[in-house]
């Protein structure tokens, strides 16, 4: 079975997801996998922006927070139906992305990094200080679980299929997007904005569109996060979480859809496995960011595949075609 063709990949993905579901009876693993799924949505979105379009964002957690708090406030305080609240979250995050994206995306490199970073910090301060609305630093509780046709998804095991269905759909959409006309234009503007413009690509509008797309992914993840935890606090959406998201993108591999899944998985499971020496987590985390960027700039997935290709070249002496997109 040739795994390269798209359909085989989704069959494999579904198989693995189901195998895990059947194999586990323990709520802890479902909670862990749900978090991996939620973080994957975030990381794929950021990867489209950072990996494919080459636009750095150090404030991505802000959209995650906006989605979570819109869902949280509308459902816990105003009793709105969770699915409507989720849509409202998408609308709010999308418009916030346009508001900040239009001026910010005119900037480049460090300036763009600082603009997104500033925006992220301002949002986390507002979540902390607007206490009557957001419950302030002690958080917002009483968020009802999502329910499908009256069936409440109030345990991790019940939420697992919904979250991983969303992950599967988003991975498929993103993989298609990357290979489509717009995806190529995106990768083009990353390599040379001037050349892309000379072919008729409206680079400013495209950067804004992908910025809004990644914000929508983050908002969706935020709503799912709010309904899976039933309680949210501002500390989870601060500056350090934005940095953790960048690390997940970098580890998995910039410009690699599947790499995002791997990056989110490794950096969620690692702290759990390393729980015995927690004090080292920050050191390991910082080291990952540095080492991967220096030695494996294209991330684990591409790095390992490059290594495999390189060994083939050494053994057979023929020069293999380099990697296509979306590895």
């Amino acid at each position: 079975m040739n795994f390269a063709r798209p359909w085989n990949r989704w069959v494999l993905f579904a198989l693995v997801a189901l195998a895990i579901a059947a194999g586990l009876d323990n709520e802890y693993y479902f909670t862990l996998l749900n978090f991996i799924g939620i973080y994957t949505l975030l990381v794929v979105g950021l990867n489209l922006l950072l990996g494919y379009a080459g636009q750095i964002s150090l404030g991505h957690a802000a959209f995650f927070g906006l989605g979570a708090y819109t869902s949280g406030i509308l459902t816990a305080t105003c009793g709105v139906n969770p699915w409507l609240a989720l849509l409202a979250g998408l609308a709010l995050s999308g418009s916030a992305a346009v508001l900040i994206g239009v001026p910010a995306l005119k900037l480049r490199g460090y300036y763009l990094a600082m603009a997104t970073l500033g925006f992220g910090i301002i949002v986390s301060i507002i979540l902390n200080q607007a206490q009557p609305l957001t419950g302030g630093p002690s958080g917002l509780s009483g968020i009802p679980p999502l329910s499908l046709a009256g069936f409440p998804l109030n345990t991790a095991r019940r939420l697992y299929p919904l979250i991983w269905l969303a992950v599967g759909v988003i991975l498929a959409l993103s993989a298609n997007l990357v290979d489509s006309r717009a995806g190529r234009a995106l990768r083009a503007l990353h390599d040379s904005e001037a050349a892309a413009a000379s072919l008729g690509v409206d680079t400013a509008r495209l950067k804004l569109k992908i910025f809004v797309w990644s914000a929508l992914y983050a908002s969706l993840a935020g709503s799912l996060y709010a309904h899976s935890l039933n309680f949210i606090a501002p500390a989870s959406f601060g500056f350090m979480f934005s940095i953790k998201l960048v690390a997940m993108v970098v580890l998995g591999g910039m410009a690699s859809i599947w790499g995002s899944l791997l990056g989110a998985g490794v950096l969620t499971v690692l702290p759990e496995l390393l729980s015995v020496f927690h004090d080292f987590e920050m050191v390991i985390f910082g080291a990952i960011l540095m080492v991967v960027m220096i030695f494996l700039p294209r991330g684990l997935v591409r790095g390992l595949l490059d290594l495999r290709e390189f060994r083939q070249y050494k053994r057979k002496g023929r020069f293999p075609g380099f990697l296509g997109p979306g590895a």
């Binding site: 795994f3 693995v16 895990i20």
Partner: protein, 386 residues
Amino acid sequence: MRTKTWLVGWALALAGLILAPGCGPGSKSEPYVIGGIFSITGPQSYLGEPERNSMEMVAEEINAKGGLNGHPLKLVIYDDEGDVTKARLDAEKLLQKDRALAIIGPSLTPTSMTVLEITQKAKVPLISCAAAASITSPANERAWVFKTAQTDQMAVSRIYQYCQKHGIAKVAILTVSTGFGVAGKEQLLSQAAKYGIEVLAQEVFGEKDTDMTPQLTKIRGTAAQAVICWGTGPAPALVAKNLKELGLTLPLIQSHGAASKKFIELAGDAAEGVVMPAGKLAIYQQLPDSDPQKAVCKEYAEKYQARFKAPESSFGGYAYDAQRMLDQALMKAGRDQAKIRDALEGIKNFPGVSGVFNMSPEDHNGLTPDAFVMVKIENGQFTLTD
């Protein structure tokens, strides 16, 4: 040309397999498994670290004496780093993987709120070390949740009693922007009228802020007769220093969050004259021998300093009391979690470091305002004051 990405698919399957066998350990093993969740690293590590140390100290002692009814105590302690997501995962691990009979912690209000949502559902007794009253109230929704930290209500009423006694009717409050600060601020505002006290200014500061002179300058502009600073960590010490720098002569009243030797060390001579409510641990030497808490505090302070070569902390006292009360409940109820809950609820005049506990179905904290005494710092030492 598509690349072959079976590598990723297999990696995921492998991850599934590695995690799978880890679940479902033998549940009939000998020891009583007790869970612990504290903020050992992260910004609030000054809470989590002494709490973990105190819990381990008690367990070591019990196991040295052959455990409870012959069952050794097995502690499984996780660090939630003050992060809500991690606290949730740690709690799931304790319930599902480690099958803990009961859980002590977490250290903070937000992490306690998210953990009690699932321990309540799983009917596992939880003894939180955080301060907010909402952790154990409303009582009917918190049947399985207890707390050993004195609530902010009591600290505020002690402060206001002190203000009344010293003719302070107009105060300015300066609270930290954390769960602890927000809960304190609510109490300070709601109880002020009851004691005939008027709050003229409400300023806030960040947990990591290092200069509070603007807030204090604003307060100086009001007719406040005293400043009440509600915070934990290093910031309250800086408030004391800033106050001195500005040459303000207003008396400074801190919360029980600042009742530690570390505050005196950091504030230096700006700590002179500062008043605050504190558990009796801070001044146990000055207690009359008849006070039941004196012996407990003395024992805890001496053992902690011997074991960890660091000054004892009132925060550690929360976990110390929790573990000792849990031991008493385990002795009585054995492995049955419902019986452990009932035993905990039935605890009467239990002398602890943080006060004398009298639990009841309506009150899962069991403490009264007199768990606090007012102390003043004079030449670097806590002294009892009224």
